[in-house]
């Protein structure tokens, strides 16, 4: 199929960017979206132009790097997939596809479609861990009984890959689905209880400091999340924060 691509080009973090149109031809419907981008970049390199910078790593939906806002939706029109898992069969011959970086003040553009998501790292560092004494008398995690229900729910929360689609999709650029998932995965397990109070307070404080917006429960994040992280995680985080403050 033949496609027109409108892509955000920006030389570096300081430059002003703009949308630029490109034409790609003979794209197979079996290609992934990123393979289509590879074809375009090869074309640009052959023409002596600067290829389009975009993030990617695993190309199998687990690393969360492939941040693209495609036709007005994070990771494009399909549900439960990252950009690398999106296939060209989701588009039609002759389509015009708009491709932009994830937009949020807390995710500044580095170049073209590449954004700096280290704000998520700093939120994690503020409390997204448990401290374990490894001096030799460490308790075996398997010796602590955990109900099936709690284990399943914690695992669901833990599947968040930190891709940032929730922030990109939210009209408020709120990070609450991500932070909710990271708070929840520990809040549901006995190992997470000791640091629970500090964890939720510190992670939320860091989230606010980074300049993410405030959740107004539109639910866009849940719909666009490639891992199906549910709004329940935000409700749980709100409960945890209220508990921590009372």
């Amino acid at each position: 199929m033949n496609l027109t691509l409108k892509i955000w080009r920006q030389k570096d973090a300081k430059s002003k960017g703009k949308m630029v149109s490109y034409q790609v031809n003979d794209i197979s419907e079996h290609m992934s979206f990123l393979e289509m981008m590879d074809v375009l970049n090869e074309q640009l390199i052959n023409e002596g132009q600067e290829p389009i910078a975009f993030d990617h790593d695993c190309r199998e939906g687990i690393c969360g790097m492939c941040s693209m806002y495609i036709n007005g939706e994070a990771h494009g029109p399909d549900r439960g997939v990252t950009t690398c898992q999106l296939h060209m069969r989701s588009f039609k011959d002759g389509d015009t596809i708009t491709i932009e970086p994830f937009r949020a003040k807390a995710f500044p553009v580095i170049k073209d479609l590449v954004v700096d998501r280290s704000a998520f790292e700093r939120i994690q560092q503020a409390g997204g861990f448990i401290s374990v004494n490894t001096s030799g008398n460490t308790q075996d995690a398997n010796a602590i009984p955990i109900s099936k229900h709690a284990a399943d729910e914690a695992m669901d929360s833990a599947t968040c890959i930190g891709c940032g689609a929730c922030v990109a999709s939210c009209k408020n650029a709120s990070a609450m689905l991500f932070v909710g998932a990271k708070v929840s995965q520990y809040a549901l397990l006995p190992q997470g209880q000791i640091e629970a109070t500090d964890r939720v307070k510190n992670m939320v404080a860091q989230m606010d400091l980074e300049g993410f917006g405030n959740c107004t429960n539109t639910g866009a994040c849940e719909v666009e999340c490639p891992k199906g992280i549910s709004l329940e995680n935000i409700a749980r985080m709100n409960r945890e924060l209220m508990k921590a403050n009372l």
Binding site: E73, S174, K201, M207, N214, N217, T218, G219, M237, L241
Partner: protein
């Protein structure tokens, strides 16, 4: 506790608490207004009680005004912070793919309600304050000796432009509540089971109450 309200989530909880308060008030306001459809006397009695009771006038009324002001000031602050969180907007954004119109436009439905509240204050509240506390007439009576409340109500709803404005305002209130009701409980951290039940109830509330107010306005327009 003070730490809670400095955080984004804390402010959201405060927003939800003010919204719950307003939704309870709305129910009470509706319960009184609907009396006017069934019995002018009952409506007059209750209006006179509400209008002259010390507890209602000097405790509940200031709390209510504070609640309304708090809610929209907080709403504006939220909106400003949220707009600042994305300085460059998308060239193409498909909001309807993942959210409802109501959830994306709370600030606009809210502003429509605010405009209505201003009109409503000019229509009813300011004349009341004038009669009672400036003219000093707390009798609640017309020169002919009858209660004035029902008369005044009917008189207001003779004007089709006012009735139209009220109807439009209540449509916006319904839109505001269609997202707002369920949103409140999500903000308060209600679990998904409880939320599912509340959602159905919230939809009913968001439609029935504003529709009821519209009915009352039209009823008096056609029956004066």
């Amino acid at each position: 506790m003070s730490g809670l309200f400095k955080s984004s989530i804390g402010r959201k909880v405060a927003m939800a608490l003010s919204a719950i308060f307003l939704m309870i008030f709305l129910l009470q306001h509706f319960a009184i207004n609907i009396l006017s459809v069934f019995s002018a006397d009952r409506f007059n009695d209750v209006s006179h009680f509400m209008g002259t009771n010390f507890f209602v006038q000097f405790l509940l009324q200031p709390v209510l005004i504070f609640g309304v002001v708090f809610h929209f000031v907080m709403g504006f602050m939220l909106e400003i912070r949220n707009r600042n969180a994305r300085t460059i907007s998308y060239a193409k954004n498909n909001g309807s793919a993942n959210t409802t119109w109501m959830s994306r436009n709370m600030i606009w439905s809210g502003l429509a309600i605010l405009a209505f509240i201003v009109l409503h204050f000019i229509d009813f509240w300011i004349p009341e304050i004038n009669t009672k506390y400036i003219q000093g007439d707390v009798s609640g009576l017309l020169p002919d000796g009858n209660f004035r409340y029902f008369e005044e109500l009917q008189h207001k709803f003779e004007n089709p432009i006012r009735v139209g404005a009220y109807v439009v305002a209540f449509v916006f209130l319904a839109l505001h509540l269609l997202h707002g009701f369920a949103s409140t409980f999500q903000s308060m951290g209600a679990g998904s089971m409880r939320r599912a039940k509340l959602q159905a109830f919230g939809k009913a509330y968001a439609i029935i109450i504003p529709l009821g107010f519209i009915f009352i306005a039209l009823f008096h327009y056609f029956n004066h």
